[in-house]
Amino acid sequence: SQQGEEDPQALSIQEGENATMNCSYKTSINNLQWYRQNSGRGLVHLILIRSNEREKHSGRLRVTLDTSKKSSSLLITASRAADTASYFCATDPFSGGSYIPTFGRGTSLIVHP
């Protein structure tokens, strides 16, 4: 079953605009990570935010985490055509004595030049 669910499922914007995608999850977490997947490739780690953090920045990326609402958002500022990809959040529910990295369904982002 999916732990995290991204919203929206698809997002289409113009180059230079900001892109915001959200992730909701069900159980308590220690960390939440965001990944990008270009077509036909594996996932690439973007950023990790810990449960005791509320906001984190990395270049044009801004991630927020609200543990009370069990949700996170990823903001990409000044988007570029090269940002076209699918974006996934991953949580780490503790199960059977270990952390099990679990991905959502993803948001497909298209940035038009």
């Binding site: 996932l43 996934f88 199960s95 099990i100 990295p101 369904r105 993803g106």
Partner: protein, 115 residues
């Protein structure tokens, strides 16, 4: 550092045939994962190894899927016999250690088509 290597890149088989995928993780990474990604969906964990021991295989269809990680390094995932619904991309990933704060490094996957 070299990334996660997977082979083959593509595989087409008929249903009821068998197939095997190979993965070589990043050197020094103790944890290895196999994910199944069906078109349009997120990756679903099939099995997680810590060194050569299985941490979680609760979503692995054990009647047809098997995986091993010999000597705690390379890993193979096998499907026998394959079904049409096994058509997917099989992703291998590794991490230094999984405590929820170690990023996963993915290979480019093997795209399996079952006809």
């Amino acid at each position: 550092e070299a990334g996660v290597a997977q082979s083959p890149r593509y595989k087409i088989i008929e249903k009821r045939q068998s197939v095997a995928f190979w993965c070589n993780p990043i050197s020094g990474h103790a944890t290895l994962y196999w994910y199944q990604q069906i078109l349009g969906q997120g990756p679903k964990l099939l099995i997680q190894f810590q060194n050569n021991g299985v941490v979680d295989d609760s979503q692995l269809p054990k009647d047809r899927f098997s995986a091993e990680r010999l000597k705690g390094v390379d890993s193979t995932l096998k499907i026998q016999p394959a079904k049409l619904e096994d058509s997917a991309v099989y992703l291998c990933a590794s991490s230094f250690i999984w405590q929820g704060d170690s990023p996963l490094h993915f290979g480019n996957g093997t795209r399996l088509t079952v006809t």
